[in-house]
Symmetry: C2
Subunit: 104 residues, 2 copies
DNA sequence: GCTTACCGTAAGTAATGTCTTACCAAGAAT
DNA sequence: ATTCTTGGTAAGACATTACTTACGGTAAGC
């Protein structure tokens, strides 16, 4: 549930595929596994990591678990990235002003 | 030079520390290594990964290499995340409309 | 009730990734 | 010219991670 966890979770290619699949449409574990070149338990393990990072949530439907994207983790990652971006840009601007002080 | 590379690069804690250190202020390899609990070659290797992802750039200064954040990789990551975010939000909105069709 | 479909977890293995020391090259300093 | 500083790269040790098969547990279908 931190941006660090989100980054680590989304770094792995197949785990990211799981996530992007769920973004297109929610679905049960078995269905996702069938569309990927890995076993169902592997998908389950990826879903646990994504879940711990707050990137997906599951709702129970009988014996099936329907997973879908949770905006929470995504929002957190976005918040960090946007803050970082403005920081970097601010430093860039002040750096340029230092080199070319046109407003003295 | 893709959002995949950026995600993978920023997933590692110490590599992210290298990156965040450079975001605060550009600097040579040795200086960064001194502020971190890893050796200088380790920092060099991390910088290579960050560089390949377009997250940092180096400018040569005699025998030293001054690394600084490259907005390019950061911008790419931001673009992907923002696109993803709006996609997810759109699906959320249409999902709600499907369940509660108040505007028929 | 019995079987079938669905899924999480455990255990072990294979693959990746991160770190260290050792080495080499290039410019700065004396 | 030699020495010192700086840093990239190679090789190998170590840790982490992703995958597989095997198992158990719960709900649906007949």
């Amino acid at each position: 549930m931190s941006y660090q966890e989100s980054l680590a979770a989304l770094a792995d290619p197949t785990r990211r595929q799981v996530f992007e699949t769920l973004a297109r449409a929610p679905g049960p574990v078995g269905q996702i596994a069938k569309s990927l070149p890995v076993s169902r338990p592997a998908v389950s393990q990826h879903l646990k990591v994504l879940s711990d990072a707050g990137l997906v949530v599951a709702r129970q439907d009988g014996t099936r678990r329907i997973y879908s994207v949770d905006p929470k983790g995504l929002a957190e990652l976005r918040r960090w990235l946007d803050g970082f971006w403005t920081d970097v840009m601010d430093r860039f601007a002040s750096e340029i002003n230092t080199l070319e002080p046109k407003d003295d």
